[in-house]
Amino acid sequence: MFTFGDSWYLVLAAIIFAIGAVGLVVRRNPLVMFMCVELMLNAVNLTFVTFSTLLDDVGGQTAVFFVLVVAAAEVVVGLAIIVAIMRRREGANADDVSLMRG
């Protein structure tokens, strides 16, 4: 029966990564932008796991934990900064934040 070859997982991860990247560029709401970053990081986790099974080496899976921890730390700090800015004006989005240019 049809089993998904390893490369399929890699392609899936790449697609998810691309969605995350495009999402960050397109969307204006900082929270959604931040979720897109999480999406990209998880796509990388998928890639890690795939390679780990492929290479039959535990290193890949351990790396996933580090990524998760780092993602968590980013979430904490990121949300703090985003909330600090959004508290100034309701409904503000990323484009309003363009004081410095040129």
Binding site: V25, V26, S98, R101
Partner: protein, 665 residues
């Protein structure tokens, strides 16, 4: 024999003394110091001449090297003096005539606020002239050459407050520098050909020179000579040089500096020997110059301008001689010319001095009653220059004309041009004498120009314009400003001015004895100069020579007679003769002024603007471009987070595309 260095050293010493103590010495004393220095140099020259006389004919060469001037590797130039027949001859008449003119100037320049400065420059001039003549190599001669050029610049623009004088000085210096262009190139070509610039070595190595090189060298040095001796293309500065005080005109622009061109070509005669057609060119340029200058002199109303064009013309004669390899004739005429031209200039100075510095001959008339001595001495000078035997001018000019007759391609034509010029010379000199000393009445008595003889308007103002623009009367400075008033009675100049006149008149009269044509034994000058001169232009056979002499005498008398009829008896209308084309010296100078002033200046200005707009503009453009590019980059920074993210994404895509490309190739 070590006296040679004394000849130039004394004027230099005089110069230094005057530079340091000039102002304190004051009016007459500075003049006497200067005159003493030049007189001392004359005495030293005589002493050296006497010792040279003692030596045997071919061995009269004494050189004394003072120090190694430019000891550059293969180009060794020593600061050495060479006293041989040619140079000591020149020294004698330079210092002789120079001393006389110095004495004359003491009186002439009395009362001038810059009296000491005048004599400082005069002494420097004599020193440079002596170095020019005594130098034992081309570079030291060049030092003298440029020195006299600089001094003539300083002396012409001596009364500098008048812009015309200043520009006349500059014009003289720049025109001379054009000549010096030829001199430097000639010197380089000589060095490249012979490996040396020393005259003695050149003379020794000259026989083997190739024709082409010799011609090139001859032409280059002739260009230099035309600059310095005011020949056809570059003579324009001499008439304007009359802006300087009269003693300057006498010393520099008649006797000494202008002859340096002839001296140089004579010194390089061994090269000219092999120079082929260059000699003919020299002869013909001399002839044409003589003719044109004589023509121009006919229509000049400023007494000094007449003499200036006369000098250009007489120099033309000397170059005819040089061109026909008749160097003895050239030297002979140079000496006689020095005497009678200096005499005429100083006489003119005396006239100007006594006529409240009025230089326009049309305001003179009947001056023989007031200035007997001046008239007497100038009378002798007039006879000499017109070529009336037995005065010196006749013998030297006749020898030149005779020499020119036998020149190979078109000797006879050359002779004819010479004769015409001689006739014209007689005519304009007589015209000058009549208008000044004789003429109908005392013109300055009758007030205002309208009283002048019916001269057509355009000629009057043309010459008037020419005079004021170019010559710049002497009446410029504070103490000279008293204008000629009708009740002015001219008085004879002081004795200090008249004595030199008398001495010069004597010499002008008897100088012919130096080289009488009758018997070989009488050719003293020829024997004296013979060892230095290379090449011998042969004279026509005896009987032909007599015929030519008679024709030239007849020509002289017709010139005098015709001038008498026009100006004394007023039978012929003078204006038909004094055409504007002559008054403007065939418009040569005016065309130069037009070219230099018009398109010349415009081209220079275009270059200056080009430099500022284009070259500098390019640099400013680069700066502006950089700033523009910078502003473009600023545009990229929109301030939006998303556009930055897009930038990063784009960068990533670009790198991935690069990776894919790497994969495929």
């Amino acid at each position: 024999m070590e006296l040679i260095w004394l000849i130039p050293a004394l004027p230099v010493a005089g110069f230094l003394v005057l530079v340091l103590a000039g102002r304190r010495l004051g009016d007459p004393a500075a003049g006497w110091v200067a005159s003493a220095a030049v007189a001392g140099a004359f005495v030293a020259s005589v002493l050296v001449w006497v010792t040279l006389l003692g030596d045997a004919d071919g061995t009269r060469q004494v050189s004394q090297t003072l120090w190694e001037w430019i000891p550059a590797d293969s180009f060794q130039v020593s600061f050495g003096l060479l006293a041989d027949e040619l140079s000591i001859l020149m020294c004698l008449f330079i210092t002789g005539v120079g001393a006389l003119i110095h004495v004359y100037a003491i009186a002439y320049m009395r009362g001038d606020p810059d009296f000491p400065r005048f004599f400082t420059y005069l002494n420097l001039f004599v020193a440079s002239m002596l170095l020019l003549v005594l130098g034992d190599n081309l570079i030291l001669t060049f030092l003298g050459w440029e020195g006299v050029g600089a001094c003539s610049y300083l002396l012409i623009s001596f009364w500098f407050t008048d812009p015309a004088n200043a520009s006349a000085g500059k014009k003289a210096f720049v025109t001379n520098r054009i000549g010096d262009f030829g001199y430097m190139l000639g010197t380089f070509l000589v060095f490249v050909t012979f490996g040396t610039v020393d005259y003695l070595q050149i003379d020794a190595a000259a026989p083997g020179i190739a024709g082409g090189t010799a011609t090139a060298i001859a032409l280059l040095f002739f260009l230099a000579a035309t600059g310095k001796s005011a020949q056809l293309p570059l003579f324009v500065w001499l008439p304007d040089a009359m802006a300087g005080p009269t003693p300057v005109s006498a010393l520099i622009h008649a006797a000494t500096m202008v002859t340096s061109g002839v001296f140089l070509l004579t010194r390089l005669s061994p090269i000219l020997e092999a120079a082929g057609w260059a000699n003919d060119l020299i002869a013909w340029v001399g002839a044409v110059t003589a003719l044109l200058a004589a023509g121009a002199a006919v229509a000049q109303n400023d007494i000094k301008k007449v003499l200036a064009y006369s000098t250009v013309s007489q120099l033309g004669f000397m170059f005819i001689a040089v061109g026909s390899q008749n160097y003895v004739g050239a030297l002979f005429h140079m000496i006689t010319h020095a005497f009678f031209k200096a005499l005429l200039f100083l006489g003119a100075g005396a006239v100007i001095y006594s006529m409240a510095h009025e230089q326009d001959m049309r305001r003179y008339g009947q001056l023989r009653r007031y200035l007997p001595v001046t008239f007497g001495t100038m009378f002798v000078g007039w006879l000499a220059i017109s070529g009336i035997p037995p005065f010196s001018g006749f013998w030297s000019k006749d020898e030149i004309l005779a020499g020119s007759y036998t020149v190979k391609p078109a000797g006879q034509l050359l002779w004819i041009v010479g004769i015409i010029a001689a006739v014209l010379t007689a005519f304009y000199m007589t015209r000058m004498m009549i208008m000044t000393f004789a003429g109908g009445r005392e013109e300055w008595r009758t007030e205002g120009p309208e009283s002048l003889p019916e001269v057509p308007a355009d000629v009057a103002d043309a010459t008037e314009h020419a005079d004021s623009a170019h010559a710049g009367h002497d009446d410029h400075d504070a103490h000279h400003d008293h204008h000629l008033t009708p009740d002015h009675t001219p008085r004879e100049s002081p004795v200090l001015m008249l004595a030199p006149l008398v001495v010069l008149a004597a010499f002008a009269a008897v100088a012919g004895v130096l080289n009488l044509p009758f018997a070989k034994s009488l050719h003293f000058l020829e024997h004296w100069v013979e060892p230095v001169i290379e090449g011998e232009g042969e004279l026509p056979p005896g009987v032909v020579q007599w015929i030519l002499a008679l024709v030239s005498i007849a020509g002289a008398f017709t010139g005098v007679w015709f001038a008498w009829r026009v100006y004394q008896q007023r039978r012929v209308d003078r204006t038909r003769l004094e055409q504007p084309v002559l008054a403007h010296a065939w418009y040569i100078d005016d065309t130069y002024a037009e070219v230099v002033g018009g398109p010349g200046e415009a081209a220079f200005q275009a270059a200056a603007d080009f430099d500022h707009e284009v070259v500098d503009g390019a640099v400013r453009g680069v700066g502006g471009g950089a700033l523009g590019l910078g502003r473009a980059f600023r545009g990229l920074q929109t301030g939006f987070v998303r556009s930055y993210a897009f930038g990063i994404g784009l960068g990533a895509v670009a790198l991935v595309v690069f990776a894919v490309l790497r994969m495929s190739l």
